[in-house]
């Protein structure tokens, strides 16, 4: 069973990445009840933003020095696209039936995918992303790659920042107020439009950080990478309780660990030999989602927006 620590570590690292993206889904849903299906593409654009910065820097600079610049570049691109999407694709439809912004979101996601593809013709297939070189670390029987350190450090930092922001700052409290009741919040002097833009921006920034993590971890990015990661992050958000930011991170971690354990052990259970292995991990991830939703429809930590009429 000495493989277990490794599988847990793999799952947690993958899950932290899902969680970072899921926060964007959950915050936007918590405030405007919109499932921003283009969020996966905002994640992808963060990756390409970081990649573009890297292209402009000389090769000789060490990656450690470049990473902060790449993160900034990724965040700028993601936030710009995320807030522009809010302004031009979602705000005009505010108050429209819920289906309308959902359709725009899907259209927007295809548009962004094709746009990046057109801008980076050599990204027709995956393109290589800078990676950390050097030995891996051994912790409690698990091997941790240098590339994985990025997400291990970034995810908790992001959560601490977000927790502080939401509960301690004026904008954060405005966000909570808007989530509870936008009309009353407006009457109390909260600029709800600004709050909504802020939610989109923070979600996009986290997605950009996740994209850099994805790049340094896998050594490659591609124009369609947002689709499957976005879907998984959305699952994580629902799993944790959509609208709940801590739930999004927990949902991500649970999903990642479930995938790793399903790949590693499902095939060892007698009678389940056929259903184990990497090919089945997505099946088990979604089975888990269905089970959680059947038993606890509000998600693991509950929806924050449940008290709304």
């Amino acid at each position: 069973m000495h493989e277990l620590p490794q599988q847990l570590a793999n799952g947690l690292i993958l899950g932290a990445m899902y969680g970072l993206i899921a926060i964007g889904y959950t915050m936007v849903y918590g405030i405007v009840q919109l499932i921003n299906f283009a969020h996966g593409e905002i994640f992808m654009i963060g990756g390409f933003g970081a990649y573009t910065v890297w292209q402009f820097l000389p090769d000789s600079v060490s990656l450690l020095a470049v990473i902060p610049l790449m993160i900034v570049g990724g965040i700028i691109c993601s936030v710009a696209v995320g807030t522009a999407a809010e302004r031009f694709a979602y705000r005009p439809l505010r108050g429209a039936p819920r289906l309308a912004p959902l359709i725009t979101a899907i259209g927007l996601s295809l548009f962004l995918q094709q746009l990046v593809w057109a801008l980076y013709p050599h990204a027709k297939s995956d393109i290589s992303f800078p990676q950390f070189h050097g030995d891996s670390f051994h912790v409690l029987g698990a091997t941790i790659q240098r590339g994985d350190l990025f997400v291990i450090i970034a995810a908790p930092l992001c959560m601490i920042f977000l927790g502080y922001f939401v509960s301690r700052t004026r904008s954060g409290r405005g966000m909570q107020a808007t989530a509870q009741d936008p009309d009353t919040a407006k009457l109390m002097g909260v600029n709800t439009d600004r709050i909504i833009v802020l939610a989109f921006a923070i979600g996009a920034a986290f997605a950009a950080i996740a994209a850099v993590a994805y790049g340094v971890k896998n050594g490659q990015i591609g124009f369609y990478m947002g689709f499957i990661m976005g879907l998984k992050a959305f699952t994580a958000a629902v799993l944790g309780g959509i609208g709940n930011i801590y739930g999004a991170m927990l949902g991500g971690l649970v999903l990642g660990v479930a995938e790793a354990l399903a790949t590693g052990y499902m095939g060892n259970i007698p009678g389940m030999e056929l259903f184990g292995g990497g090919g089945w991990k997505d099946v088990w991830a979604f089975v888990l989602l269905i089970i959680v939703l059947l038993i606890r429809p509000q998600g693991l930590l509950g929806e924050r927006v449940a008290d709304r009429a």
Binding site: E3, K124, D126, T263, G264, G277, G278, G279, K281
Partner: protein, 408 residues
């Protein structure tokens, strides 16, 4: 209102009349073989965008080159060849749409492509019904020519219109197994495939030969080719202590799989088929050195028959490399050109009216020395050239290690 309608109708009538008259005069001239040449279109279907486009663009360019050379040499009197490239994005549904498009265009006498065996499966039937010749430079799925019963020895050709210049996965997987067992002396292997037609067929054929030789498959798994994080599978491989990993699939997933394996401290080679044999595999995998791949044919760079091809390709100034299937594609396109030539010769120097049927019958008699060696087709439409080569990544480059004419 009345005036407007009259003007519109008469305008439309004039236009259609003009159109048909032009068409008529055109084909009359073509038929007579006089001044103007008949255009023969060779359809080309490959993934020109998406994941596998590096290979697809190499295929498009090589086919384009073949028609240009044929035109330049005036190989078939009175016939001008032209390529009609369509992008299938490596998806069977799009491939089938492309197939119907080719069938609808009467100037198309043969189709080169596609890259993927599963795309071919969706195209074979429409082509067969239309009697349109298809030659794939890259499809290695054995059932495409020998039917689903080939594993049990019950070979039956399902579609008379399908030919290929690539040999089958049965040959390729078996060759890989033999190379790994006897040349690399690796006796235990972990087997992974992506469950697609190509990957699963390759893995099955590898397993068959490898176990027969006495090698041990210490574990096996499947992965989703769209995934990029394989650490969970890698941890399983690590536990078994396998001495090599055989992967049935293509490079976009194989690159990160190989790298994550080595990152985790397992320094064993990853081996795969021609789906790995691409320069992009090394670009996406910083630890590719020592990895192995098999590919069909002899390495193009080493064959004297290929020197001309390489020089021509370079002169034509294509932006993309010819990649793994350049030589095979050139030969596939050339086989259609040869078949057209024969059809024209048998018809007193004119393109016969039932050109598609004549081209199809000529295909079985096509025989020439191509880029990848002697080209002809057996009773299943498979190439008779079963030359295979094993490559290894050395100093970030695929280096040919061993070539042989291999019969499983």
């Amino acid at each position: 209102m009345l005036i407007l309608t009259t003007v519109l109708t008469s305008g439309a009538l004039t236009l259609t009349a003009c159109g048909s008259r032009d068409d008529d005069s055109g084909s009359e001239k073509d038929g007579s073989g006089g001044g103007k040449k008949t255009t023969v279109t060779i359809g080309l279907d490959a993934p020109l965008s998406g994941d596998l486009s590096a290979l697809g663009l190499g295929i498009r360019n090589s086919a384009d080159l073949a028609t240009k050379i044929a035109n330049k040499k005036n190989l078939v009197e009175g016939v001008e060849f032209k390529i009609e490239p369509l992008d299938d994005q490596a998806q069977p549904s799009i491939g089938q749409q492309n197939a119907t498009k080719f069938i609808g265009d009467k100037t198309v006498l043969g189709v080169v492509g596609p890259l993927n065996s599963n795309v071919s499966q969706s195209m074979q039937k429409p082509f067969n019904d239309a009697g349109l010749t298809q030659v794939s430079p890259a499809n290695t799925g054995t059932e495409l020519t020998q039917g689903d019963g080939w594993k049990k020895g019950d070979k039956k050709r399902p579609f008379k219109t399908f030919f290929r210049t690539a040999t089958t996965d049965q040959v390729q997987g078996s060759f890989a197994a033999k190379y790994l067992y006897t040349t690399s002396k690796v006796k235990s292997v972990y087997l992974i495939d992506d469950q697609k037609t190509y990957g699963a067929g390759l893995a099955a054929s590898f397993k068959d030969t490898y176990t027969k030789l006495g090698g041990k498959i210490v574990g096996s798994d499947h992965i989703n080719p769209d995934d990029r994080d394989f650490n969970a599978v890698v941890a399983k491989v690590k536990k078994t202590g396998a001495k090599a990993l055989y992967y049935g699939g293509e490079y976009p997933a194989a690159g990160p799989l190989s790298q994550q394996l080595k990152d985790s401290g397992v320094q064993i080679p990853v081996m795969g088929g021609d789906g790995l044999y691409s320069a992009d595999y090394i670009k996406l995998n910083k630890k590719a050195n020592g990895d192995l791949a098999t590919s069909v044919g002899a390495p193009v760079e080493k064959l004297s028959s290929a020197k001309q091809f390489i020089a021509d390709y370079k002169n034509a100034g294509y932006k993309d490399a010819y990649e793994a299937y350049g030589g095979g594609t050139y030969d596939a396109t050339w086989s259609i050109i040869e078949a057209v030539k024969k059809a024209v010769q048998d018809n007193d120097g004119k393109l016969p009216s039932d050109a598609r049927a004549k081209v199809l019958t000529s295909m079985s008699q096509v025989k020439f020395t191509g880029v990848t060696g002697d080209i002809s087709f057996d009773e299943f439409g498979d190439t008779t050239n079963t030359m295979m080569t094993a490559y290894e990544v050395e100093k970030d480059k695929w280096t040919p290690k061993h070539s042989e004419v291999y019969k499983p």
